[in-house]
Symmetry: C2
Amino acid sequence: MSDVNRQWVLASRPTGMVQESDFELRESPLPALQDGQARVRTLYLSFDPAMRGWLNDVPSYVPPVQIGEVMRAGGVGQVVESREPKLEPGDIVQGTFGWQEYALATAGGPAGARPVPEGVPITWPLGVLGGTGLTAYFGLLEVGQPKPGETVVVSAAAGATGSVAAQIARIRGCRVIGIAGSPDKVGWLVHEARLDGAIDYNHEHVSARLDDLCPDGIDVYFDNVGGKILDTVLARINSHARIALCGGISTYNSTERAGPRNYMQLVVRSARMQGFLTFDFLPRFGEAIADLSAWVQAGEIAHQEDIQHGFENAPATLLRLFQGKNLGKQLLRVADPEG
Amino acid sequence: MSDVNRQWVLASRPTGMVQESDFELRESPLPALQDGQARVRTLYLSFDPAMRGWLNDVPSYVPPVQIGEVMRAGGVGQVVESREPKLEPGDIVQGTFGWQEYALATAGGPAGARPVPEGVPITWPLGVLGGTGLTAYFGLLEVGQPKPGETVVVSAAAGATGSVAAQIARIRGCRVIGIAGSPDKVGWLVHEARLDGAIDYNHEHVSARLDDLCPDGIDVYFDNVGGKILDTVLARINSHARIALCGGISTYNSTERAGPRNYMQLVVRSARMQGFLTFDFLPRFGEAIADLSAWVQAGEIAHQEDIQHGFENAPATLLRLFQGKNLGKQLLRVADPEG
């Protein structure tokens, strides 16, 4: 074990597109362990579009990351040293370890490190069996309320959350159309995720393709992108449609925020647009993970991981999300487990 | 009875602000009655902001009014001639009679003329005991779902619908803040409608006043106006807030439609924005009218009618809504009942 910790800290608040230079790599000595603490070596870091919001100095569901503070991130790591009986050296655990090679962890509580489930790859609890899978599950089922035979549209459908949401809708007997940004992604959606159709928004007319693929209108929209695509969908919603607002990645790095011009469609269609936070459903996480595990293991949910390598690439890996480069869950491999 | 009918027909589709010149006054002979029809003389016409939407050639919850067609409007009239046994000469009835002095009416069905309730002024079924009262009732209670002690904000709160919604919220034990456009309206909201506070958006800073009057944030917003005020409220919503989208009068006459820039607050606050059409609740109209009647008669709901005079003033009366001139339900008196 090194006695130096490398950390990426927030150096400046981005305005507009986040840049690698908004972060700074620092080295610091490893602090001594206190009773009740364990030292965790980071193995994989998780990247999500929502992390962009944590960089803005505005009130939100979590406090903003402060200048000089280690960038917040979920991860999987291995206990290397411990003064906490529940966390033994060698254990593989998950938690909000941040962009650093070594983190101090406690056990128990929402902020504590917890063991990863056995029998699945150690990265899955960061994606399909973790935050993104849970977000897809509750957003689609509880907010979207899809009924068999309804038409469901999902944006950023090849992303970690969108891909799971779209396939849960397919499992529930819906007609599902995915929107993504490249021919590769569209191919994956149709052939691997087995959606009823997919649209490449970078190379096709979304409005015309939606008209083709959703001849009976749109009942549920699981939105990860906001912007023009949200307006294009709003113009095609059915009566009593439900829009599950998961994110708005098209706007996160924009200094000029525009809202959905067609929002009055909600009135004339008696429809709703609803945001949600996965933690609202905390008491039901166990049930959701059980369903997701069963679907993944039965081959009903295909999922992909986009794994980058090397701790020094953390900022560049974050940027991949906003460049549309990732296909599936974006991860960074920092180290391999030992023993 | 005259043998000539005067009608206001749509002469041109407005772009931007509707003008009196978008309508044309025509005279035509009264058609002969068919079996099952009655001739109704218009007594009062009802005016609502939603009528602006009927002039746009876009799909909506009702077909657009066509060029050359009599302007659609609800009204109260008196049967003057009948070949329908259920509609007897002298009966006072309500229905969608349009901007004309004489209408042909049938009985039964949603499009049929129906008797006004006894024991209340004949105009009330056009307002507090009619469409606007029902819209306020279901929008506030079913979409807004206010709980005692919560903070409810209502825009266009001195209008026909907003004033009823705000007072139902007060009756349900909420802290209620109204937003309106003049000192007179604000005075009425505080002294007659007995709200907890009111804001004059033309002469006060809405954001600062909302901060003062809603120190615990906003749980329910009943929105009639859209635009900047919607964004100002979105910035102050609490977790799990509900926005009942009733209308967006600030945008109806605008050629540049902007959406709510702050809609992503719905995500970080796990909140929802939901449109509704009063007719979705048709099976429960009786229950709502009973509640509204009881509240009005007990003095729990104050309401006002703004009555203009003379059939020739129909277009000018519509414009009053968009000029913010009306206080309460906008009506036009066309004739007095006989007998």
